[in-house]
């Protein structure tokens, strides 16, 4: 198990290294002139050239890269034009909003986590519960309703569902505030009240997929020999299905859930836009629009971290669940 863990962590580190290289290479070799974009007035060529030197953009690419990585791990001096010394983890200095990129992320990351993680708990619980139950009650009215629910959910768009929810609960019934973000630590009730519609909308769409997946998975598992063995031993239906079948059926779902959550953390643009909340997604989109390279670069890295971490967590969970993985 320990060897397995170390192997996965090494692999994850390697992946991150590769991602950072690619991201760095891509953005810093783009033909676009960041300095010219950034400059608003007095943009004569000499001044631009001075800024380029100051930002280190004239240094060899390899030096720029090692400088950047050093900043992340130990911090570095960015020069007086960029706020002086930048503590680790230093992600550079935003070209457009006059602050360190890490400060921007310290602000927007909790927002995105607050949107995605509770929604994930909801969608997993609802989706897996519905799917498993409808597999056990195959062919009944309950099963048909659950299938109808997943078909509806799977064919909807987030902005539509989100818009409808807001019209109903915010503007018509007036029982919920306009969606917004408050820190959980400051005011838990307001935190939940401001985000609950986003959770529900996400949970509705995602749980539809999970219900369908879990149902198919459970039906397949119920036909397995070991479930019949469990029944042949004299176990009750609830124990045979609830323990023996469920444990096997849930394994592949764990994988997909991990990757979905990792992906969702890096892809909340639509949710944030729909509900007018400023998180990682909208920050990234704005950075792209304004050509704020350090912020774009950091967004790419952080999204990659989410995915890599999700992969490691999934692998570990898999090993915990399935001894065949753990023992090779």
């Amino acid at each position: 198990m320990l060897r397995f863990l170390i192997k996965r962590l090494l692999l994850g580190t390697l992946t991150m290294f590769a991602v950072s290289l690619v991201a760095f290479g891509m953005f810093f070799m783009l033909p676009r002139d960041a300095v010219a974009t950034m400059c608003v007035k007095n943009c004569n060529p000499e001044r631009l050239e001075r800024v380029r030197v100051e930002l280190g953009l004239k240094d060899p690419l390899i030096d720029q890269y090692t400088g950047y990585m050093k900043g992340i791990f130990v911090g570095r001096d960015l020069g007086s034009a960029q706020g002086g010394y930048c503590d680790a983890p230093c992600l550079g200095y935003s070209y457009t909003s006059s602050e360190e990129v890490s400060d921007i992320f310290a602000r927007v990351l909790p927002v995105t986590l607050s949107i995605v993680l509770p929604a994930a708990v909801l969608w997993l619980g609802l989706g897996i519960g519905l799917g498993m139950l409808s597999a056990l009650k195959r062919g009944t009215v309950f099963d048909r309703l659950a299938i109808g629910f997943s078909l509806t959910g799977a064919s909807m768009q987030l902005y539509f569902v989100g818009g409808m929810l807001m019209i109903i609960f915010v503007y018509t019934l007036k029982i919920l505030p306009v969606p917004h973000y408050t820190s959980l630590w400051e005011d838990p009730l307001d935190w939940a009240g401001g985000l609950v519609l986003a959770w529900v909308a996400l949970a509705f769409l995602f749980s539809a997929v999970y219900a369908r997946l879990s149902r198919a998975q459970m039906l397949e598992t119920l036909a397995e020999d070991f479930v019949r063995t469990a029944r042949a031993k004299g176990l009750s239906k609830s124990r045979a299905y609830g323990r023996h079948a469920l444990r096997a059926a849930i394994t592949p779902i764990v994988t997909i859930a991990g990757l979905d959550i990792g992906g969702a953390l890096g892809g909340t643009v639509i949710t944030e836009t729909t509900f007018g909340i400023q998180g990682l997604g909208r920050t990234a989109v704005e950075a792209v629009r304004l050509g704020d390279l350090p912020t774009i670069m950091a967004t790419v890295l952080i999204s990659a971290v989410f995915i890599v971490v999700a992969n490691i967590v999934v692998d570990l969970l898999y090993a915990v669940i399935d001894p065949r993985v753990r023992l090779g």
Binding site: D225, T229, K233, G234, L235, A248, I321, R324, L327
Partner: protein, 349 residues
């Protein structure tokens, strides 16, 4: 069959019918099967794929899904009537009075739980007051009894860490946890190597002597039947076509289908030059079972249309005690055909 004839058999199946509702129509998987089995005796059930062997045994276990299955007739186990029993009541008998082992021990054991845990669970389901330590001890004893070396170490291993033969021993140990009076083994050696097959069969025979249980052994292999069974039930198209002691059915078979089965197995002692003769044609559809004798489209001796294509032959006693055959041919004619035309061709003894 003369064995313990005075006492009623431990398992008595009467006119069992099992039907499945499917999208294509009603499948008559078992259509009127009757037999009895005493403790200490082994019944081999043979027949081609799809003849209803597994469906019959799953009916005895009460493992058919009641929503899709219609079961009529009688199954009496130690005096209790199983047909119509609620799942809650049937559950208490399963694994305790009647246990089952399956063809593929790898897929029949749960891949995520240790062997010990699965054995302990089997015991504690029926001994809710037993402590974990008692159940563990029982598991150790049983693993040891079925010939698994170092049982205390093996207890903590997962099914995938065992070889095929060892896994089947684990399944056997699990089925014996509660000392069942009836053990059903559905093709327990089909997935194993020939040498391992023989060991498993020996083990079953040993255990039977020790525990004095009744065994139903389902197999395609008449050689296996002649080795370990006391009685044979030959099934075709969901019906029993011949039933008797091994000696009666293997040495004096009277049903044309049994002749076909015997001729289609490689003989261990016979002349290897003698060509095997698989039965011509295919097993019948169980949705549209042929009228009359289900075997008549493939039978070389069929009298058509009357009576073979018109009337279902009943499983009737012949002269030898306990031997029953379902065929319209008169008994002397069957005996004559067998001795003159069949017996000298390589038939396994």
């Amino acid at each position: 069959m003369t064995h313990d004839a005075a006492s009623p058999p431990y398992l008595q199946v009467d006119d069992l019918r099992v039907r499945f509702n499917t999208a294509d129509g009603e499948v008559r998987a078992v259509d009127g099967v009757s037999f009895g089995l005493h403790r200490g005796r082994t019944l081999g059930i043979v027949g081609e794929s799809g003849s209803g062997k597994s469906v019959t045994s799953l009916a005895v276990m009460g493992l058919h899904d009641p929503a899709r299955t219609r079961i009529t007739g009688g199954i009496s186990l130690g005096g209790r009537q199983l047909v119509g029993l609620s799942d809650g009541d049937m559950r208490k008998l399963r694994g305790r009075d009647v246990a089952m082992i399956f063809q593929d021990p790898l897929s029949a054991l749960h891949p995520f739980y240790t062997v010990g845990r699965q054995l302990v669970e089997a015991y504690r389901t029926h001994h809710p007051d037993a402590s974990k330590a008692q159940a563990r001890q029982r598991a150790l004893d049983m693993l040891d009894r079925v010939g698994i070396p170092q049982p205390d170490r093996r207890l903590h291993q997962y099914p995938h860490e065992f070889s095929g033969g060892m896994r089947q021993r684990v399944m056997i140990a699990m089925s014996l946890m509660n000392d069942p009076a009836l053990l059903i083994a559905d093709e327990p050696t089909t997935a194993l190597d020939v040498t391992v097959q023989a060991q498993i069969l020996d083990l079953l025979a040993d255990l039977q002597r020790e525990f004095h249980s009744a065994i139903i052994l389902i197999t395609h292999d008449l050689g296996v039947v002649s080795q370990v069974a006391d009685e044979v039930l030959v099934m075709y198209g969901g019906r029993a076509v011949e039933h008797g002691t091994v000696a009666q059915v293997m040495r004096g078979p009277q049903h044309p289908y049994t002749w076909g089965l015997l001729a289609s197995i490689p003989s261990l002692h016979g002349d290897p030059e003698v060509e095997l003769k698989p039965i011509k044609g295919n097993p019948p559809s169980l949705i549209n079972v042929p009228t009359g004798c289900a075997f008549h489209p493939r039978c070389a001796y069929a009298m058509k249309p009357e009576p073979c294509a018109a009337q279902v032959p009943q499983l009737l006693a012949v002269q030898a005690d306990g031997h029953r055959v379902a065929c319209h041919l008169p008994e002397p004619e069957r005996i004559r055909i067998y001795t003159d035309e069949i017996a000298h061709v390589g038939v396994a003894q």
